[in-house]
Amino acid sequence: MVDLSVNLNGLQLKNPVMTASGTFGYGYEYDDFIDVSSLGGIIVKGTTLAPREGNAYPRLAETPQGMINAVGLQNKGVDYFCKNIYPKLTKYTTNVLVNVSGSTIDDYVECASRINELDAIPAIELNISCPNVKHGGMAFGTNPVATEEIVSAIRKVYHKHLMVKLTPNVTSIVDIAKAAEAGGADSVSLINTLLGMAIDAERRRPVISTITGGMSGAAVKPIALRMVWQVSHAVKIPVVGLGGIMNATDAVEFLIAGASAVEVGTANFIDPTITVKIVDGIRDYLERHNMNSVSELIDSLQTE
């Protein structure tokens, strides 16, 4: 029997496969398709202090092997989450993480401290990387000083596992990752979506209402993989890798590059059962390569 479990700096995962925020709803939308509790963890939709209506329609452009979204963190706010959604999540026997988003440090801090009070939420993923909100969001995650400042502010009020999600829309993601570590992050996850654009040539108009939006899906994998490899060799805290993971082989590549766990995002739209297939595929891979545990695979890239 291979050991699929991963210890993410104190956060125990039964296997390295989690779901990416904004692509898995609150988990229960997938109950018809899979046993959600069999995953290493789920990360629910980005949650902000106040409710947000999100951006105008259209919010979606399909691109070769990918998509661009401009959802803009539509959610009903943290109070609604705590009162109406959280009670439906306590049935899951896996880690349920909340993706905390915002536009000012005060908003983030207030939102994180509300989540801190929820016993069944062992960790948050701090989203300082959303390209789809006008203020805040990605602005924090593109500057090392602002990153360290916001992470330390959250660290003061959030006492469980603090994962910080990084944006790829920067010159040096390593500098941002180090700043998150210095601010007190327990782990970092990367990448959020890449800023992209789609044009309808016939109509000479942007395809999505916000003109630019966040690109995800298979097409972004090589960039994500490179960033995970760079960051995992520059920080001591564990790295969670994501971006374009469509199957078990993709997930294995991220683990080899140095990720301790992965998140699966856009692939859930194409196959709602893909996450459990990826868990099975990682197990098969380990067996085929005579490895006893996922930890043997992590950071096993041979460059000689």
């Binding site: 904004g22 692509t23 898995f24 709803g25 939308e29 997938y30 018809d32 398709f33 939709k45 209506e53 999100g54 329609y57 259209p58 919010r59 979606l60 399909e62 691109t63 070769p64 092997q65 990918g66 998509m67 979204n69 959802v71 539509q74 899906g217 298979a218 856009t266 859930n268 739209f269 194409i270 196959d271 709602p272 059962t273």
Partner: protein, 258 residues
């Protein structure tokens, strides 16, 4: 909400209609689950370099005895082109049945089912279900010309079909709103159930509102997930953004900001 599945169906018939439409008959390996009229499927496209996401397509017909579903698809781009190239024996993965469907219990006993173009697709199963329930539905279909009138023989087996064509080649010349069913007799119907291009649905909705007749429309926003998680497919309603995939695709017009 009905339980949803992801299942490999087998293509048992693939019929091209006028080089522009394809009618796919898909067989389920076992008994079909419960399906509401107006629900849709998300079709996984055969591997393609450029078309990545699933495609939402209405359920055209359901045959429980044969364990088959039918999809009526208009070829408009690469994804639908790939679907038109399927042949007998091919597998097609569906996530289904999705969305809410039309409210059969509120349709009353004399509903008018209005379809424009390929928007007639959900009307066949809908008409059959209404007849089963004892209602006496009527159809009103609009098309550009004669060849845009799809599956007429099938519809005529169920109920009276009223027709308008833009070029006047069959039925009343003009749009569905020019037909006497809507222009002068709208108040005789218990409800209007509509699917078609946006301008047509808005025009019909305006007539229904003016006449005080209950009206439901089926929207076709662009979708990624089809199951209410990505929030890409929203439409503006009086209660804020709602997902067309999971809270629609069918909306009662007073819910919308029309």
């Amino acid at each position: 909400m009905l339980k949803r599945f992801t299942t490999d169906f087998t293509v048992v018939a693939a019929e091209m209609i006028d080089c522009e439409y394809v009618l796919l008959t898909l067989k389920h390996p076992e008994q079909l689950p419960e399906i509401n009229a107006g629900q849709f499927v998300e079709v996984k496209l055969p591997d393609s370099a450029t078309s990545f996401l699933r495609r939402p397509i209405s359920i055209h017909d359901v045959n429980r005895d044969n364990q088959t579903l039918q999809l009526l698809i208009r070829v408009v781009g690469n994804g639908t082109k790939l679907l038109s190239l399927l042949t007998i024996g091919d597998k097609l993965n569906l996530v289904y049945p999705l969305g809410n469907g039309f409210s059969l219990d509120k349709a009353g006993n004399r509903p008018l089912l209005v379809g424009g173009g390929v928007g007639v697709a959900p009307m066949l199963y809908l008409g059959k279900r209404l007849v089963e329930m004892g209602a006496q539905p009527e159809f009103l279909f609009g098309a550009r010309n004669k060849s845009g009138l799809l599956r007429l023989a099938e519809f005529e087996k169920i109920a009276k079909v009223n027709i308008t064509t833009e070029d006047g080649s069959v039925g009343t010349k003009g749009f569905v709103t020019n037909h006497s069913a809507i222009e002068s007799n709208i108040a005789n119907y218990s409800s209007l159930l509509v699917c078609g291009p946006m301008p047509m649905m808005k025009a019909v909705a305006a007539k229904a509102k003016a006449a005080g007749v209950r009206c439901e429309v089926s929207l076709e926003n662009k979708m990624a997930c089809g199951i209410g998680v990505c929030l890409c497919c929203v439409t503006e309603t009086k209660e804020g953004h709602k997902c067309v995939c999971s809270q629609g695709p069918v909306f009662e017009i007073n819910e919308l900001k029309w």
